[in-house]
Symmetry: C3
Subunit: 342 residues, 3 copies
């Protein structure tokens, strides 16, 4: 099935020639003037749809597809069935993303403030914003032009959002300065108190005031129900273009570079520093006060307990360089076998 038009209204159709140009690819074996209206996975795409192949695992589905065209690498050309064109490129995922974004463009803001929303008189809202039902924009907040605030979104006192931000349903921001094009999915929590307290007399905890902010760089995207605490002193900083998945925890004073990728359920403890382009697999954890160099990568469920040099892949808990962890796991398997059979 193609994209459900209830949820994903189609834009104007494209010809295969246009699609190939958008994808930066070469059209092979199809009529350049043939029109396509939507996109879909190989198994489900019909003669109106473009699909793609990026993962060898699904190559068998290519041979059976009914898609009008498939974006793929040249190596798969001989498996394209008759009646289906190919758009050949070295980066089919990117090419397909661009075609899909043209056929199903992201909904634009529908300018206006819903009558049920509450906008404090001391807040400022830029032109062309869409403010949803029961949204709250508090005193002193500044919302840039072209933003969309979903139902129940809360923009706290003094918070600044750049232009073209999209704040999902029930997301909340406080103590935060966000750049342009920032996206928060529903239920994201930005700027609340970090987890800080001192042990006082008799073991009672006394709260450490959390006096920093959260700085979100341009085009940062943050997943549903993820949490980014504000700095205790100084700021928590998420670098431009960084993408954070759902249910991620980022503690106070963490700083990331640009273009990091932080997969779902990762936890990053206080004051950890991530360089540019750091990638953390799902459920990985990072202890506090460590530094991960540019381009460091951690596997899913890794437990990072110390600094990671730039460009290093780590795995396991405690995390070690990937090759070392793989050797340990292999040795352990042999050991289990020997001991069990002995």
């Amino acid at each position: 099935m193609a994209a459900d038009p209830r949820f994903h209204p189609a834009g104007p159709p494209l010809t295969l020639a246009e699609a190939a140009a958008i994808a930066g690819g070469e059209l092979r074996g199809g009529d350049p003037a043939r029109s396509v209206a939507t996109v879909g996975p190989l198994r489900e795409a019909g003669p109106q749809a473009i699909s793609f192949l990026d993962n060898r695992r699904y190559a068998a589905e290519l041979e059976a597809t009914a898609a009008a065209a498939v974006v793929l690498r040249g190596a798969f050309l001989d498996r394209v069935p008759a009646g289906t064109a190919a758009i050949v490129t070295d980066n089919p995922y990117l090419g397909f993303a661009r075609i899909a974004a043209r056929l199903h463009p992201r909904p634009a803001p529908r300018p206006g403030t819903h009558p049920t929303a509450f906008v404090d008189p001391a807040a400022r809202i830029g032109d062309g914003c869409e403010i949803g039902p029961f949204a709250v924009i508090a005193a002193g907040a500044e919302v840039g032009p072209g933003c969309i605030l979903g139902p129940h979104a809360v923009v706290g006192e003094g918070v600044v959002l750049g232009e073209d931000c999209r704040i999902g349903a029930h997301a909340s921001l406080s103590h935060c300065i966000a750049g342009r094009g920032v996206v928060l999915l529903p239920g994201a929590r930005i700027g609340q108190d970090g987890f800080g307290f001192a042990v006082g007399p008799g073991g009672r905890f006394e709260t450490m005031p959390q006096l920093g902010r959260v700085m979100l760089g341009d085009f940062v995207e943050i997943g549903a129900n993820s949490c980014i605490d504000r700095g205790s002193q100084g700021d928590t900083v998420i670098g431009p273009g960084t993408r954070i998945d759902n249910l991620v925890q980022i503690a106070h004073n963490v700083r990331t570079g640009h273009s990091c990728v932080i997969v779902a359920q990762v936890g990053i403890s206080g004051s950890a520093i991530l360089g540019h382009g750091v990638q953390l697999g799902g459920q990985a954890g990072v202890v506090g006060h460590v530094t991960l160099g540019d381009g460091a990568k951690a596997g899913a469920q890794a437990g990072i307990t110390g600094d990671v040099p730039a460009g290093t892949d780590v795995l396991g808990s405690p995390a070690l360089p990937a090759r070392e962890t793989r050797r340990m796991v292999a040795a352990l398997k042999r050991l289990g076998t020997r001991d069990g059979s002995g």
Copy 2:
């Protein structure tokens, strides 16, 4: 203490004979006409209450209970104290659940739309629904008869809910078709964008449009603050009767069979396929694009990195068949001891 009537109003009382019949058990050692009004744990149940014993760990509490009756297996009969009846069944947990549900029935909808709710004129709501304060039902949405929407629940554009669904406070749905009897606990996030992007020129991320839906089968239940992303192409599908605990992450294009059990904080990566009756322990993780066969089970914190055959139990991270992981852990313990003492 029995159930607090502020929160759990009692329905009409039952006789022990009725209770035994509801439980599908045999009443032993009590007056069939004796009346019970509530339920409680062994330690706290009084003479008005029925309790149960399902876990050997709590057998000592049986001997000291003041409950009117205890639902249990025959093996524990000789430890039931005087003055307490027994309801003997092979499935005491089920029997007790049914008695409890009769004594404290789930609150029925109180039909009506709260004056503060916002229902778009282009939405359709079935008969007998209870729509709570500040709930939002967007244009094109369809809410089946007998649904309860908690305060601040958001049913997005075009979303379909079958009859008798219960949507908790602050839960949000978009791009979703849900069957009947679906339950979302507070803060659950259904249908938002999946985590998908291509790497463009200069390493900049370009969003892959997420053009699918979430399909929730009949009687699916989803825990508080859990997240289910919609498909990127095609759909994310949760099979009928599947139960998902709190803070679970289910990525785009995941498909589960019926009656799966997914415990809190599990993460399932994109395009993973779960068969029927798959069980994942707390904090387990599943990488993308793998298949777990019918009845596969993973222990808590397991890290599943490949396909799991039907009926297989796995443990550990990386996850291996349970026996193998247990052998490895045992070998490792011996090794630690030897090396430490050597």
Copy 3:
């Protein structure tokens, strides 16, 4: 940079002599009458600000600071630069917390109910409460004096909050009795159904009614998007002063002592018992029905599968006493090296 006054308005300034007294420390090398207005990290604190040094890792920053004074241990005195005073104490983190709390006091409630809030006529609200936009206080609920309810906070039917509680944006409570000074950060979920069901005929799940409550002791603090399910029978209990970080899962019937520390993304399964002062590192997991004695500590990502005696530190998954786990990891590293080089 010092605390941003948009978000953290400063209270009245202090002299260094006052600051030292508040910190319980001794002023060394500065003018007792010198005035300070704010606090900041060593790198950013200017001549109006007090900073602190608690972690040896940042000692080099001490030598370069421009702060008016630094709270620290005597051992670092000789690294304090000229122009900066020292406030010497054995607990610099506590001393600094107290100074910070004086210079930037927690905002007091601004008494009043926002016109958009919904307060059921059958709810009771104490004096001096601040009730935010779109907050909901349901029938039978009791909110103690001096509470702050953030925007969209939901206090369910019959819920009781003691005095001076602070409920963050979008947090929800049901089936809960909370003491005084309880803090919920945004999106916290308290009192929803636990994850309980029996297996009925044909493998269908039948819900076990969840008939207990959540009892939150005085000064309990609960992080953003964390979830605490109510008891199934009896109660889920969080002991006084316990601090729970973000995205934590606490299942039905868990009971904790006072002053526990539960770091982000921890999961505690049903009916587990924690003594006083138990500390669980980030992403740790606890299986159901086990007991952790007073002062037990688990490292990040630990997987606790059995009872832990009082005062014991455990690490790893499955968790073992810390020394044992460290020995195992060391042995495994040697093994990986040997096998890899053999």
